[in-house]
Amino acid sequence: MRVVIDGKVLEARKGETVLQLALRNNIQIPYLCYYPELTVSGSCRTCLVEIGLQKKDKIEMMPKLQIACGTEVADGMIVITNSDTIKKTRKAMIEFLLLNHPLDCPICDQAGECKLQDYAYTFEQNKSRFSEDKIIRGKKDVGERILLYSNRCVMCTRCIRFEKYISGNYGLTILKRGVYSELDIFFNRRIDHLLSMNLVDLCPVGAFVSKSFLFKQRAWFLKTVEAICPGCSKGCNIYLDYNNNIVYRIRPRFNEKINSHWMCDIGRLTYKWLYHRPRLTENKIRDRVVQAPEAMDTIANTLLKNKDKVCVIISPYQTIEELLMIKKLADYLSLKVMVLFKEDGKEIIFPKFTIPADRTPNRNGIKKIFSQKIEKIENLDGYDTVILFDYSPENIIKDEFRKIKEIIIFTPFNDNCLFENVSIRIAGTLCFEKEGSFINQNNKQQSFKPAVLTNINEYDILKGVYKRVSGHSEVY
């Protein structure tokens, strides 16, 4: 199917809309109420374009402007998005939207990534002809993790449609009508479900904001890397937004097969793992800070001395790369390997999103590398020494570890396993601080990049230990 947009001949897919075709081909048409995966609303009117249809052997332009978001492509269709009419129309729509919009960009979290703000610049809507009083609406605390500045709302209804069709929570209502329409929750029923923060992403302006991000950072200071959420085995694709080595925010990254445009609030707040417990930043033997070579020597000696009585306990939060190195070491010395499993949570099902019961990111990675035989820690009797890789965000070490003669622990957290029998403590990194990959519940391996750079090098220590134990000089 051929469609011509602004003179450019494009191959269109049956059933797609003019807007989708344009966006796919990098032709910019402004839009606010459209959002992929949500029903078409057609109400913001910013995507109005001129459309002509092939009628026999001539093109007939439709008398009225049409919404690109609600018009399906047709063979031979002509679309004009750059005429003077369209330019004036876009400017007018933005002017309308700004009439009762507060000029609080300087204190609005959305500034810098606000569609309305961007369009106001793009379409040069920089002077107001509006000299009347604005309508003022309030700020509302609508959920544990989100706020609603209804004053900034542009009535695109993305949030309402999300609440109906994606979360199924039906948490939002509209008060009154016309220009006095106002978004609200009903009867103080707050939006606390685990998809609530998607409303913040969806909102094209700063009406919905995240409490955890509120006033923390201006959007234009943020840098972004693509990563994978470590919150569970779903493997949601994410963006890590960071600045100066601090992660401020996680946002979902579109992946049609895994998470679509969404992610859950648990995953979204996993970056707080970086900050919610004291971090172990140096390697220690007992209370003495040691450099890497000494740590490697000591660990290697312990293993060689006593390998029949050594048990390695790995974590489903570790990356594939780390697990492979451990596997090499364990295989070489025929060490017993167990897993520090996390208890399953409850599977949480929304109409268009499911949070799996397994709330660890890489259990399938362990299964793949160590085969199915890997077992949970049940009985540590008979082992003198444990090499414990504990990357769990919560402190889950139990008293049974006290019975072990000697523990060597790799962990990111300083409050982890402070037992007297811990001889060596190696500082570990969280997934936001390293490159690596996880294998999700559907056996898809996905890699991620770090947002935070550290001096911590537990992988090198692992590699060094293996070199010392095996005598190999190069390890791949």
Partner: protein
């Protein structure tokens, strides 16, 4: 505590049975509830949501749209004076002034005794008899000061 009585619930189900989709009955139900409870409170919407098994926000969203559906307690007699063009050309502003003076309230308010609520409304669709008003849904036409006195007196007498 339940606000809706069993007979209300029966009526509600009766309204629903008229339509292929029960949600259609909503305006009928809301009119009925307003007639019986003066206005539709959030608590009523909440109960209705359970009776109909429709999310409360869906119903509240609809309810909020319509100006005839009252969001707070109304006087026993709701006086709605048309203020749109044809009535305005025939002096509806004076009618509203007169009623405000007579009742001692501004439009939008209810008298202290809870008897009268005075509202300025848009076109009531009876322009040929301008100026017009409705009291509890009944039309009063070709209004003037004398007529209003008579109407109010009649209400007071029969109350």
């Amino acid at each position: 505590m339940s606000i809706l009585r069993d007979e209300d619930k029966d009526r509600i189900q009766g309204f629903c049975s008229i339509f292929p989709e029960k949600r259609s009955a909503l305006l009928m139900i809301l009119h009925y509830l307003q007639d019986n409870y003066s206005y539709v409170s959030d608590e009523i919407i909440l109960e209705l949501s359970e009776v109909l098994n429709i999310p409360a926000t869906e119903m509240h969203n609809t309810f909020q749209f319509y100006t005839m559906l009252k969001k707070k307690k109304q006087g026993k007699y709701v006086i709605e004076v048309c203020a749109t063009l044809s009535c305005s050309l025939m002096g509806s502003d004076h009618i509203i002034d007169y009623l405000e003076n007579r009742l001692g309230i501004k439009s939008g308010e209810t008298t202290q005794d809870g008897k009268f609520t005075l509202l300025k409304v848009e076109c009531l669709g009876n322009c040929g008899k301008a100026p017009v008003m409705q009291i509890n849904g009944k039309f009063y036409e070709e209004l003037n000061e004398n007529k209003i006195d008579k109407i109010l007196k009649e209400i007071e007498d029969n109350d």
